[in-house]
Chain length 334, copies 2
DNA sequence: CGCCGGGTTTGAATCGTTTCATAATACGAG
DNA sequence: CTCGTATTATGAAACGATTCAAACCCGGCG
């Protein structure tokens, strides 16, 4: 159905090699011939078969990217920045969503390997350092995104989640709250574990403070709402004074159930802080305090690190680590 | 670097065809041989080269999807639903972001054509019906998403934007507002034009009502904030009584500047309604009225229609059209 | 007039997989 | 013991683009 280079050659009355040259090295072809070939390409509606090209080349121009949750605005922002940066370098990015599911993650890694992508940007769900090692052995560059690489082996772009967790809890403590709660997703998620660890550290520095840990089914608005519901069903005096959510989506959900459904006041009855500082954080019912991560820079840097690896396979792995930043808004006012 | 089927065959002491059979038709191979081959695959870390496979097959198992703006939660939801549905059918989806830029859109279409994708799901930015026609001629199925197909030629999944625009304006009029404003992106965007048209129709039915049209640079929170800023700088009596934004992101931005920055009250001073009913709409400072579109169904249906086309190239194009729904919240209370 | 050198063009070889007609083998029945 | 059949294995051909050594053409120079 689709025309091949051979048919173009036949129509233009030249050899296949010439057509290929018109496509890839126009300067090597005499102007008259070039036009004749371009005419043939036009009339046949020829579109280059990328599979054949790649097969010959042994490698594609594509970068694979696996994100934990593309419907989380934070990851969407990271992905967008990466996309822009890649376009600048003449690469295309194709994306996959693991949804925090190690199986789906593995499927995408395989898919990308089969496609012989140049490299992979990945926010790991499970423990895939073994898999990444295998990738590198096979000559596929990889950069961890939003997760620190092991000791010197993988390049990575991360944000210091422990510091972020510390900042969040510290802020709550600074504003006079003592009975804190942490709402996270599965403790298997590294970001959740690290943020919790930071929070625990802050709390441990105040002998009179406590931190209760709650687990949400998911890191979504809906799951946040469910946890919030659970909380308000307790007797009032067992309610925490402040809640730290592992991301803004959870915080928004908790906020909804506290406030809209149960008539509690934020921050008077309960203070609330999220994580990521997504665009919506400042527009919520009560503007949400949060810990900001530099999404754009993360995406851009990830691509840059990957390009470094591509340019020189023996370039040392680099770990870039950003520091998050507290953004205090009304939801934690004292 | 990467092992090929040939090396696997050599190591296992069988012919290449046998290895291929182990990979694709394990039942045709004797158990003993199968295990020997699988062992070789294991030790060599063999990964199938998809380019070669596709070249031979002439087609891939991939579906290409082009969205207008993946950082808009509405599109993210559509994409996610499509992804799930495709996975169910054993296809993979790769995504591209046009960002409403016809050039980027064209680049992605080309990329997908070169990859010989099974089909394309596309929310068109520019006028690409010509391009889609070319795709079909070449045997690539296409489904328009969130835009109605022309008369009988393309399959499409859309939502009646004119009806939605009408509903929004009608609702504002019903609650007693008369001087309305419409905030949209570029009028070149079909959704914007249609929603405006619907609103105009509603307004024209009320002789004492008026509709002022404002254009935002973009359909983002930031652009919304800019337009809101412009509005509040006017003298108070020239302020509209109600604002209809072409999507929720714009509405959130407008809300921010009205309320947080300028101390106006919503809905008392100005009523506000958005479009899409994204998850955050109910969590904004003042819960946002909106027009809901069934994102999940749109994504799912798009894939279904594509599968129909794939199953039978001569299946008639189908147009599925959903009707949006008004969700009234506090921001338009009278 | 023959040869040289440049710019052009040619077309066979190659990439790795799948397919399929054919060959090899094993096993039972006669 | 032989033939027929069923099961399994073989390996050449094909997919379509790129590459590259070789062929070709043509004007200029000795």
């Amino acid at each position: 159905m689709a025309a091949s280079i051979k048919e173009v050659a036949a129509l233009a009355g030249v050899a296949v090699g010439t057509v290929s040259n018109v496509l890839n090295h126009p300067d090597r072809v005499a102007p008259a011939t070039r036009e004749r070939v371009q005419g043939a390409v036009e009339t046949l509606g020829f579109v280059r078969n990328d599979a054949a090209r790649q097969l010959r080349a042994g490698q594609s121009r594509t970068i694979g990217m696996i994100v934990l949750d593309s419907s989380n605005p934070f990851f969407a922002a990271v992905a967008r920045a990466a996309e822009n940066e890649a376009t600048l370098h003449g690469s295309d990015i194709i994306m996959g969503n693991s949804g925090n599911d190690p199986d789906r993650e593995a499927r995408y890694v395989t898919l990308f390997e089969e496609q012989r992508v140049q490299g992979v940007l990945i926010s790991p769900a499970g423990d895939i350092s073994a898999r990444i090692g295998a990738l590198r052995d096979r000559g596929v560059a990889a950069v961890l995104v939003d997760r620190e690489g092991g000791p010197g082996d993988h390049s990575s772009v991360s944000v210091d989640d422990t510091a972020g967790g510390f900042m969040a809890a510290e802020h709550l403590l600074d504003t006079g709250r003592r009975r804190l709660a942490f709402v996270g997703g599965s403790p298997g998620i590294r970001q959740v574990a690290d943020r919790l660890e930071g929070a625990l550290k802050a709390v441990s520095e105040h002998p009179d403070a406590s931190l209760e840990v709650l687990e949400a089914a998911d890191m979504t608005v809906l799951a946040g709402r469910a946890v919030g519901q659970e909380l308000v069903e307790r007797s009032r005096d067992r309610l925490p004074e402040a809640i730290f959510c592992a991301n803004d989506l959870l915080a928004v959900g908790v906020l909804q159930s506290l406030l809209l459904i149960n008539g509690l006041r934020v921050p008077e009855d309960v203070a609330l802080i999220g994580y990521d500082d997504i665009d919506f954080a400042q527009s919520t019912v009560v503007p949400l305090s949060s810990i900001r991560q530099p999404a754009e820079e993360i995406g851009r840097t990830a691509v840059t690190l990957l390009q470094e690896q591509l340019a020189d396979a023996h370039a040392p792995a680099r770990q870039v680590r950003f520091t998050p930043e507290l953004v205090a808004r009304q939801s934690t006012r004292s």
